[in-house]
């Protein structure tokens, strides 16, 4: 791959993403974990920008970092006694490591490389310069014969989740 602005940025964001992910799963202190998670999510947002999906990137920042991460931090703080556990991994951590590694290898060697990897037909495939814009996305969401129904259902789901969360987390007394 040629060494240009795009690839540089891609590398940076990938490193951020994966590094943040690793930090998330490995950090002993959950607050750190949350911060790493946010970092990782930032990386993903960056990747979205690179993939010319700015709307999703903004949503990523807004929803994940603005809402979910804050929520997680809240949860961590509400369960404070659990924030610094001496033993952060359970008994099967080694096995889990193996399995995750296996999974990764399978995905990579078994599917990604053979189908889209270098030297395959798909490798040459270049994204078109023209690309649907945010407007198209908005239209797609509210267009009668595209995604308006799932859109409504999603809103319903959010409402239900909100109510459910409140009901579950409320103190009975």
């Amino acid at each position: 791959m040629e060494f240009n602005i795009h690839s540089i940025v891609f590398l940076i964001f990938s490193v951020i993403t994966l590094g943040g992910g690793l930090g998330t799963v490995t950090s002993r202190n959950l607050i750190h974990g949350a911060v790493y998670l946010i970092v990782s999510l930032f990386g993903v947002a960056g990747l979205f920008i690179l993939l010319s999906a700015p709307f999703l990137a903004a949503i990523q920042v807004l929803v994940y970092i603005g809402a979910i991460a804050i929520l997680i931090i809240f949860a961590v703080m509400l369960t404070r006694s659990m924030t610094r556990m001496t033993e952060i991994y359970n008994r099967q951590w080694s096995l889990s490591l193996v399995v995750s590694a296996l999974l990764f290898v399978l995905l990579l060697v078994g599917i990604i490389l053979p189908v889209w990897g270098p030297g395959t037909a798909n490798a040459a495939l270049q994204p078109s310069e023209l690309v649907a814009t945010t407007v198209d996305l908005g239209v797609a969401f509210v267009d009668g014969n595209q995604f308006v129904l799932p859109f409504e259902v999603a809103s319903l789901l959010l409402t239900a989740a909100m109510i459910g969360a409140i009901v579950i987390a409320r103190d009975r007394d």
């Binding site: 060494f3 795009h6 607050i31 700015p54 970092i65 603005g66 945010t134």
Partner: protein, 416 residues
């Protein structure tokens, strides 16, 4: 516009000529642009602090800074120097990483906003197609900084303050976004530049003053200035989330806050009073900067005035004001405006692109929207009045004699 781009391109070209990898050169040139955009606010904030102090002094019938430099203009530099030279304490048991990260993020979250602030027809950091959304998204990062600060500094007051603030900020984001949607809907785009240009004929504040008001209030709350300054409620929690901070970190927090206020003022100017629009702005684009900052300063001073004159409200009042009043009103406003806008489009009062800059062409539409808004305002005020009355009635001692039987649980009669 092209010329301004070319500055960077020539820079990149120069780098390549001097043997750098083209990709790298391009990257560096963009980095330069980013730095330029980011520097602006950092310079501005220094004067903002001066303005703030002067204004506060005037309100409180003092002189304010007047020793260092003319009118004490250099006071802030002096303070900055002092802050830098001060000892930088990190409390024991604090979470170093996060503790040090927090102030930076709080400033960065504000500076990031400047990337989409159109300061003139030509000059804008990046005219994202989702500028408005970007503004909201980045703004929500500030919350994070406060959370981190409050938690990491291992102090119960700090944590309490942080909890409060986060609750406040997250809540007030809702009406903020709802009122932000109104100009976006008018302009039909989320790009800041687009929103500004859509106001060529008529400022959006005329179309929907209510949205503007809600936006202003919630930005006021977002920045945690009086009357919403629960963040540093000295009387209740010693100094809020940044109690443990000292030296430049503390300074950063405050710089971030001042900057945030001013940025919000600018955003308000952009969204509702046509940003850099003004006479001859297309001939002399630089004028746009002046117009924008002039408009922005007005709203900045307005919020300063509020801060210095209004008392602080209780946290429960704050929350109920948001959830029980602002949010419903903003939603109602959004629906109403959307409806009216559609109606106007249908009856063809909306001027087309050919006379987008024609003031008179916009007049009928503006009048309709205005009337609709005012009607809604009246309704809301009416409801407020009833609520108030009910509250009064509730406070008044109610004897069984005049107790209302409607809403008391009684069993219905069963005929035997």
């Amino acid at each position: 516009m092209q010329e301004c781009i070319d500055i960077f391109n020539t820079f990149a070209g120069c780098l390549t000529a001097s043997g750098a990898d083209p990709g790298l050169a391009q990257f560096l040139s963009i980095l330069l642009g980013v730095v330029l955009v980011a520097m602006g606010p950092l310079v501005i904030v220094i004067f903002l602090i001066w303005v703030e102090r002067k204004y506060a002094a005037r309100v409180q019938d003092r002189l304010g800074p007047n020793r260092v430099g003319p009118f004490g203009l250099l006071q802030t530099f002096a303070d900055a120097l002092k802050l830098i030279t001060k000892e930088d304490i990190t409390p024991a048991g604090a979470d170093k990483l996060i503790y040090n990260l927090a102030p930076i993020i709080s400033v960065v979250s504000v500076i990031l906003i400047w990337a989409v602030v159109p300061i003139s027809p030509l000059h804008i950091g990046a005219d994202l197609s989702i500028g408005a959304l970007y503004f909201v998204a980045v703004g929500s990062i500030g919350t994070l900084a406060i959370m981190m600060a409050g938690w990491s500094s291992n102090n119960k007051y700090a944590l309490l303050g942080a909890f409060r603030v986060v609750a406040q900020l997250v809540s007030y984001e809702v009406p903020l976004v709802f009122s932000l949607l109104v100009p976006v809907m008018f302009a039909g785009t989320m790009s800041m530049q687009g929103i500004v240009e859509a106001q060529l004929g008529m400022w959006f504040i005329v179309f929907s003053p209510l949205a503007a008001l809600i936006f202003f209030i919630s930005t006021q709350a977002e920045t945690g200035r009086a009357p919403f300054d629960l963040i540093e409620a000295e009387s209740e929690l010693v100094a809020g989330y940044n109690i443990e901070y000292s030296g430049m970190k503390f300074g950063l927090f405050f710089a971030g806050e001042f900057l945030h206020v001013f940025t919000n003022a600018l955003i308000f100017a952009i969204l509702f009073t046509g940003g850099w629009l003004g006479p001859f702005v297309y001939q002399v684009p630089a004028l746009g900067i002046i117009y924008l900052f002039a408009k922005g300063s007005i709203f900045y001073l307005l919020s300063l005035h509020l801060r210095n004159t209004l008392p602080r409200i209780r946290i429960d009042q704050l929350m109920s004001f948001n959830w029980k009043f602002l949010v419903p009103v903003s939603i109602a406003n959004l629906i109403l405006v959307a409806f009216l806008w559609k109606v106007i489009q249908l009856i063809g009062l909306l001027p087309g692109p050919e006379n987008a800059s024609d003031f008179l062409a916009h007049l009928p539409a503006a009048i309709i929207m205005l009337v609709g808004n005012l009607a809604l305002t009246v309704v809301v005020l009416q409801m407020l009045r009833n609520v108030g009355r009910r509250a009064v009635a509730a406070n008044a001692v109610s004897t069984p004699a005049n107790a209302e039987l409607d809403d008391q649980p009684y069993s219905l009669p069963v005929p035997h």
